[in-house]
Symmetry: C2
DNA sequence: ACGCTATATGACTAGTCGGTTATTTAACTC
DNA sequence: GAGTTAAATAACCGACTAGTCATATAGCGT
């Protein structure tokens, strides 16, 4: 088959758990243990493997503190992703301001969805 | 295992071929056949399956024209993705202008791609 | 040194992914 | 209708994913 794809950001964020970890770290650095504690349905090695992917794809940084590992988000790692999505902004409703409004409206109208241009 | 994840945009764009298809469609609508022709290393059913994923995740629209299927990008489908990434922008260097500069610098610094607006 | 705590790694596994070839569906042309 | 073209689906397969449990690594406190 293929998959010589050398794990990248797109792969990293394709998993909901990894996105949740990033979302968690967006609120501040945390130790591996603290992260594990936030995912009661997964085991410690399970989270550890996700953290490895995030490390490998440069989405997080780790610092050693005694036996602990402190994980910090490295949002620059999302630059490639942002860069890719940004290409499509031009096709969006209109300018960035319009986009903001669009997203707001989308968030607001969760149920009401019959407005069709 | 798990994966009750109901294929979403994050999954859709995790595959390089699907991203390439979207990039292609960003240049204008194309028939399925025209898309297939752009990927000589893949077979028609292979591309067809990718197109199905893009359809299911609402990233493209299809219109029927005789036996042909005309695929059109639906960039609103990327809104969720954009929304997610946007959360991290605040942690980026700074404002959008700064981000632009950051990306430009990044593009220039690495392997000078063909991005000049 | 010993045991405890924190985390990573190894070995294994079920399920999914991306690809293939073969077939089906459907609309057009003659 | 018969043949052709366009695209989707079916059936299958190897590779990879995401998870598990068990074990290893390593720093800490006594």
């Amino acid at each position: 088959m293929r998959t010589i794809v050398t794990k990248n950001v797109f792969f990293a964020i394709s998993d909901p758990t990894r996105r949740a970890v990033l979302d968690l770290l967006a609120g501040g650095s945390r130790t591996a243990g603290a992260i594990v504690a936030r995912f009661p349905r997964l085991t410690q090695p399970g989270i550890s493997k996700h953290l490895r992917v995030l490390r490998d794809t440069k989405l997080v940084d780790v610092t050693v503190r005694a036996q602990e590992r402190v994980y910090t988000i490295k949002p620059q790692g999302l630059a490639e992703l942002y860069e890719w999505v940004a290409k499509y902004q031009a096709m969006w409703p209109d300018t960035l301001e319009a986009l903001e409004r669009y997203l707001d409206a989308r968030a607001a109208g969760e149920k009401a969805r019959r407005k069709k241009r």
